[in-house]
Structure formats: structure tokens, C-alpha cells
Symmetry: C2
Subunit: 298 residues, 2 copies
């Protein structure tokens, strides 16, 4: 179990892009500014994927221009290709994230490419990022299951994670995109990847579709992972199961970590207030039990 | 990690007694009959606590008389004292559960007795149960925190659990009544109790008030516990935090166990259907993420 854990807050990006309710640009900026005041060190701000695919984040440039970028906090943005990279750089972005899937079927279906082709498509982005001094985070999705092919071989997860690391990603986030995994599988997957990519360069990213997210986080902490992606208020959803739960809630992860004496540097009360504020903007109850309990307490 | 786990379904009792919505006697009977068809081996049916304290379960005798009691399934009922024992026996009950708290302040506030006095009050009930061949399960509540005194010393949990075991309870359920515990504390508490009471005689009972329930279950499974209390649809609530979440959802526990190759004998689809049916009777979304995901899938 690590002594310090870094939370990568993905609510403004992975959360909001999967919410039905559109959030205004001003509210997105307020969300990120509020998050910046909680002690978080990494806040994924938005996505420069084409608005055609992600209309929820069509205002990426405005959001990035509008937020207060505090020293010591990273504000990565998602970038799918060189066009996205150009837009992100024009907006002044200093850190990006690229993404691919460990599932051949997922890549085929979503971007009409094999895993190998998908990785090749990053090469120019990563080359330019390196030249520009832009840090790059890598996402591997469908690490514990795929909506198209079902099971995903651990060897494929390892291969993709290693490739992203070799291509220069400083950190690889391993994502259970459809939230189907259970702790033993999560642990085995992480262990296999950590045999090829150093654990300090790995993060885990769980969705709570089947209620397993926090238990999976615990199993991975016990394996030594020290970076966890989560979304305030449990924002998000699952595009493959309408109405299902979203990302694991940051509040619930932080509550667990602090309860176990693991440091995050985060002010949990302030984080939960932000989560409940976001829930009110989304017109629903918080997806965080901690947020619900604090709201119930009044 | 155990190979087989027994789920003690507490939805009809601990769940319904903490739900705002009253469920009709006929629906309670249908709930238990549906649960009996899922493969569950223990279903806590109701409570013979005074209707003055638990109006939701005032129909305990009618419910117990109305259910189909299948061979091989235990249908324990909660009994607070000899009056409750008399009512339960008159209804034909063959297994009971008694309860106390590990917190002095909780006992003082709720039943105006010290822990020692509370245990003394059971003595006649346990004596009669022994003479009648009635099996007795024991609950220890507030094992990881108390709404009145805050922290609860592990030594007090151990003392109360050992006393119940010595008094003849075949199984002791260790309950985080207010759902505040985190995995390291849950693990340490269980380990301390298991040093005095054999692990096969222990169960764990988590509420999801702060979102930690399934992670706590996982930690306790890793310590070797093989009996888990849970409530279908995550029924219940927390009397100390209005609007907060209830018991850990049976569906989510079973999903996790089956995903890790642990056997329960339960048909998860049938269990989740029952949970979603109960949620419809309670007029709310299921408190089980598995139930929600299945409903979203349609």
C-alpha cells in the first residue's frame, strides 16, 4: 500500500463527456477552478477530440482559456490526433493525453484501426509533443473487458501499455471502460503490466457500472499502484449501458485513502462540496456516497 | 480468500426496517419467496422487535406465517427479548438473531444499558433457545464507529463478539452500522476478533453510507471471512444520516464473488430481478449498481 497517492481528477473530461446534461462553459470553468482549490495536483480539463464526436466538450478552447491554471497543478487535455494537438497547443496546453484500447474489436469499431495502426497514428503527435516539451499521458481502455469482443487478453493490455510507455508517455492509465472487472482480475492485470512498465508510471481508472470500482481500486493499491483516476460526484456514464453509473467518485476514493492513512493532499470536505455543486448543475443526486452522506447530514 | 461464501440476505429485515416507504405484507412475503428461489441459504425474514420501535415490521407474524419455508434455507428473525422470543416461537420460528452494540454510548442511548447489562438481558432468551433447539445468530453493531461516541475500541468489539459466541451464538455478525469504516480498519477489526472467535463463526455486515462497503467486504474476504450480510437492491438506510445509502447490495457482492471465482450458489440474474422488483415497490432506483446496469441494458 503506497503512503502517498495522486488522484487524477477526470470529472471535467471523462465525466462531463458522458453526461446527458450539457454543462455551460462558465460552469465548466468554475468546476475546474473549484477543483484547483481542493489540493488536487492533476485535473484533466477537457478534450480536443472533434466536437462531432464529443459535442459536450466542443468548448474545449474556451474552457482551457478560462480556467485559472495554478502552479503545481497539471491540466492535461485529451488529444486524438495532430488536428487535436494543433487546437490544444493553440489554446496553450502544456500536457496532453492520448488514448487507445487493449481490445482489437474496440479499436476496429471505434476508429477503424487495429491496435498497431492506432499506435502508429500517435507517433507524429508524440514526436511533436516531445519536441515541444509537452508531457503526454497515455490511456489504455477496455483493460478488463470489451463491449464488442468480451474478454480482453491480459497480454494485449501489457503490449499496448508497454508500447505507450516506450513511445514516451510518462504515465499509463489502465481503464476498465465498461466497469465489468472484479478485484482479482484487476490485480492480475495490473501485476502483469507492472512486470513490463514500472509501477510508478502506472495509474488505474475504474468505472462503477457494476459497482466494483472502489473494490478494484483497493486491490490495485494493494499491488502498489499510487495514481488513481476518478471523477468528482461520480460524474460520467457508460456509453454502452445507458443510465449506468460513471467513473468511481473521487470523494469515495479519497475517503477510503484517508481512512487508511494514505495521503492525497486533498481537502475532502471541499472536494465533496464541489461534487455536490456539480450534481446540482447536472440536476441529479451525487454519484458519490460520501457526497450523499454529507448532503444527508445537512 | 474462501472458495465458498454464504450470503445472509438481510433485505427483508434490516433493509425494509430502514426504508421510508412501507411495503405491504403481501409484497414482503413475495420478496422472501422470490429470494428463496435464487439459491440463497439464509434469509433474515423479519423482526419481532416491538412495533412501537419498528412499525415497518409490525406484521412480523403474518409475514413469517405467509412465506414458503423451503428446506435447506434458514429464515432467522430478529428478537430483542423474551417477549419477542415468545411472539417468534408462537409464529413457528426456528432460528433467531439477537443484537447488541460494541459501543457503550450506543447501548446507553438506545437501550439504556451498558454492554454488560445488554448481554445479561439475552441470557434468558439464549437459555430458552438452547432448550428449544432454536439456533441463535448474534449481531454486534457499531464495530467501526458509533454515532454517539465516535471511535469504538477494537477491544470492545472483541469482548462483545466473544461473549455472544460463548453464550451460544453459532455465528457473530460484525456490523459497521453507520458505514464509516475503511478497509484497513475493517481488516484489523476482523483479525482481532478472529483471534478470539473462530473465523468460520464470523460474518461481516457493511452499510454503504460512505461508499466503502464493497471494498470493506473485499478486505474481510482476504482475511478469510466466508459469511457476508447484504441486502438485495441495497435496501435500507442509515437512521443517523437521513437519505443515505443502505446495506451493501447483495447483487454487487455476488457479482464480485462470482467474478473472483468464489461460489455462492446464487443465480445472480434472478437475484438482480428480485432487487429491481423490490426497488419498484419502494418507488426508487435500485441501490445495486448491478441492478442498475441490468435495468439500463434493458
Amino acid at each position: 500500500m503506497p503512503v502517498d497517492v495522486r488522484i487524477v481528477e477526470v470529472g471535467p473530461r471523462d465525466g462531463l463527456q458522458n453526461e446527458k446534461t450539457l454543462v455551460s462553459t462558465a460552469d465548466k470553468i468554475e468546476l475546474i477552478d473549484r477543483l484547483s482549490a481542493t489540493g488536487l495536483r492533476s485535473i484533466e480539463a477537457t478534450s480536443f477530440v472533434s466536437p462531432k464526436w464529443v459535442p459536450q466538450l466542443a468548448d474545449a478552447a474556451e474552457v482551457y482559456a478560462g480556467i485559472e491554471r495554478r502552479p503545481g497543478i497539471a491540466y492535461p487535455v485529451l488529444v486524438p490526433n495532430e488536428t487535436g494537438y494543433d487546437r490544444a497547443r493553440a489554446a496553450g496546453v502544456a500536457e496532453i493525453a492520448v488514448f487507445t484500447a487493449a481490445s482489437e474489436a474496440f479499436n476496429r469499431t471505434n476508429i477503424n484501426a487495429s491496435i498497431a495502426e492506432s499506435l502508429q497514428r500517435f507517433t507524429p503527435v508524440l514526436d511533436r509533443a516531445r519536441a515541444d516539451g509537452v508531457r503526454v499521458r497515455g490511456y489504455v481502455s477496455t483493460v478488463l473487458g470489451c463491449p464488442y469482443q468480451g474478454a480482453v487478453p491480459v497480454a494485449d493490455v501489457v503490449r499496448v501499455a508497454r508500447a505507450l510507455h516506450e513511445m514516451g508517455c510518462y504515465e499509463i492509465s489502465l481503464g476498465d471502460t465498461i466497469g465489468v472487472g472484479t478485484p482479482a482480475a484487476a490485480r492480475a492485470m495490473l501485476r502483469a503490466v507492472a512486470a513490463e512498465v514500472p509501477m510508478p508510471a502506472l495509474a488505474v481508472h475504474f468505472h462503477d457500472t457494476w459497482g466494483q470500482a472502489l473494490a478494484n481500486v483497493l486491490a490495485c493499491l494493494e499491488e502498489g499502484v499510487a495514481v488513481i483516476d476518478s471523477a468528482v460526484s461520480g460524474a460520467g456514464g457508460c456509453p454502452y449501458a445507458k443510465g449506468a453509473s460513471g467513473n468511481v467518485a473521487s470523494e469515495d476514493v479519497v475517503y477510503m485513502l484517508h481512512g487508511m492513512g494514505v495521503r492525497t493532499g486533498i481537502d475532502l470536505d471541499r472536494l465533496a462540496e464541489t461534487g455536490n455543486w456539480l450534481a446540482s448543475k447536472l440536476g441529479r443526486a451525487s454519484g458519490s456516497k460520501v457526497g450523499q452522506a454529507l448532503a444527508a447530514r445537512g
